[in-house]
């Protein structure tokens, strides 16, 4: 599956080369895309090496998981949509038909036409272009927030589970207190306090759902704490931080990855919700939630204005959820079948 992807990437890189010469702000996207391609090529090469050195007839756990994942059509569908969305997000400046901020006063709140494929909003801006940029922002913020969220949740869960006792009590109780504040209100208040920048948005959103993360990782690391190999490591005098990072964390990786994947959808919903209320991504930057908010005001004139961004949010979240569900099922019972 990697090889066709790499070929497509290389073709796209060549095709977009002329554009980067013309406009300057596409450089960063091009660079990200080029490094992604390089990463894929490296992965492909590593995989070839591994295959060559593998004993015939054996399968590693990772292979079994991959095999199970490949058989799950819904998960694969989700994965393909996720990959496509990531492509759209990275390549947004190359594929938008019009500038998402350009206003066309001849076409205000109009339905789909030859000029604006998916219609235009109340300021005559192209819905398709704004949706593409909105997807880019939603995915960018969503993935970064989940990354931070995962680090915090896993870290606290590991500490609570490994040390137990007082540490456990302090961490878990404060997370429960934290959870008692209705999140959306807390986020709204925090956004109002910190000011609505992209960085603040990422930070605030990443503070949700730490408790769920920490609970699962805590349970796993509590079990692992008394495992023989961890005891052995402790007896050998290996410091706690190394035991946690080298011996416990790798064994908690599967649930962490599943949780993180499933959280992406929810995080993107939260960001869209905040933007819908006017506290997320600030105009004129295109964001799916804010597009829906203005779409609702012009519901009588044009359904497309709210239908398109809403459907895209649904698609993004659905794709991540399908993939996450499949991943969980595949990792659930690694051996077997």
């Amino acid at each position: 599956m990697l090889l066709p992807l790499i070929i497509i990437n290389l073709l796209l890189l060549v095709a977009f080369l002329p554009q980067i010469m013309v406009s300057q702000d596409t450089g960063l996207s091009y660079g990200i895309f080029a490094s992604l391609t390089a990463l894929l090529m490296f992965g492909y090469w590593r995989n070839r090496l591994n295959l060559a050195s593998q004993i015939v007839g054996t399968r590693s756990t990772a292979n079994i998981v991959l095999l199970k994942l490949k058989r799950n059509k819904a998960a694969m569908g989700g994965l393909i949509i996720v990959i496509m969305l990531i492509y759209i997000a990275i390549l947004a400046p190359f594929i938008v038909p019009v500038d998402p901020l350009a206003m066309d006063w001849g076409a205000l709140s109009q339905g789909p036409s030859a000029e604006h494929w998916l219609g235009s909003d109340d300021l005559g801006r192209d819905t398709l272009s704004r949706t593409i940029y909105g997807t880019r922002i939603a995915l960018g913020i969503g993935l970064l927030a989940v990354f931070l969220n995962t680090i915090m949740g896993t870290g606290l869960g590991l500490l609570a589970g490994y040390y137990g006792g007082k540490t456990d009590n302090i961490i878990m109780r404060s997370l429960e207190f934290w959870n008692a504040i209705p999140f959306i209100l807390m986020a709204i208040a925090l956004m109002a306090a910190l000011g609505s920048g992209l960085f603040n948005l990422i930070l605030v959103v990443s503070l949700t759902g730490i408790l769920e993360f920490a609970r699962i990782i805590r349970g796993d690391s509590m079990l692992l704490r008394s495992a023989d190999y961890v005891n052995a490591a402790r007896v050998m005098g290996i410091p706690d931080n190394q035991i946690i990072t080298r011996h416990i964390l790798p064994n908690c990786l599967a649930p962490t990855i599943v949780m993180a994947t499933l959280r992406v959808g929810e995080t993107i919903l939260t960001i869209a919700g905040l933007s819908f209320l006017g506290l997320g991504v600030q105009p004129p930057t295109a964001s799916l939630g804010a597009m829906l908010a203005s779409g609702q005001q012009f519901l009588h004139q044009s359904l497309a204005m709210s239908l398109v961004p809403g459907a895209i949010i649904l698609l993004i979240v659905l794709a991540f959820n399908l993939f996450g569900d499949g991943l969980r099922d595949a990792l659930d019972s690694k051996i077997g079948q």
């Binding site: 209705p182 807390m186 208040a189 959808g265």
Partner: protein, 312 residues
Amino acid sequence: MLNYALKRLLLLIPMLIFVSVFVFVIIKMTPGDPSAMLLGDQATAESIAAVHAKYALDQPLPVQYIKMMQHFFTGELNSIFYKDNVLSFVLARLPATLELGFMALIIALFIAIPVGIISAVKRNTWFDYGAMSLAMFGVSIPVFFTGILLIYFFAVYLKVLPASGYGGHFWTIEGLRHLILPALSLSFVMIASTTRLTRSAMLEVIHQDYIRTARAKGVSERSVIFYHAFRNALIPISTNIGNQIARLFAGAVLTETVFAWPGVGRLAVNAIFRRDEPMVFGCVLMMAIVYVVINLIVDLVYGFMNPQIQYD
């Protein structure tokens, strides 16, 4: 049991103190002066000072916090925007939010549990696939998008239901007509996740030995499903419902905005935009209290349903 309930009740106190301190700190971090919001640009130094004195804004922060806390419960805390008692305002708006939330909860349970059971019993049939695909959509759709679609279909296209607003209490016809769309859109996510959970909980139970025993004894299929399987599946389902209530609250803020529903959520959002510090404080604190109390009730009910649980 009683001990556990008391302990949980006592734990509410530090929890609410934590929440209130946190909200207070956030409010104080917010840039801008509330008196500027109230008086406009042409305010004189004296009038600003007067407002500061009136709302105790010139005092040190800990004093302000204690005053706010005290005045909130005694009903002396006044909103800067409405110039009226915060507590009575919040309490006046609370029924609308609770109506919305409970209606959504009831709709969700009435749809989700039967559908989940049927899906589990008729596993891998078209019904199961259909219900599960719909549920997958349901957990992925933003609540405000569902709301907008419902408004478009029922209010703009069919013109049978009002697009927004509050029509009175839910036992009046007009009230119910206004309530149905917001409640439906809010319940959507909950229907979806409860259906998924009911199905998986039922499937887990159905494969147990005692179900096979019951069937072997010749117990009718209906009674196997309802008395033997469903009662045990209720345990994970009720845990999930407890978790869902938190999401219901988050959803309520958005739903109230979409449908211009006069609830606490909208009051809070507007108060934040208006820099109405006492009101923000009151709304968030009240929502936290309701949320924590509901969670406590759910936990206690959970104990009744599952005698295996040991409270310590």
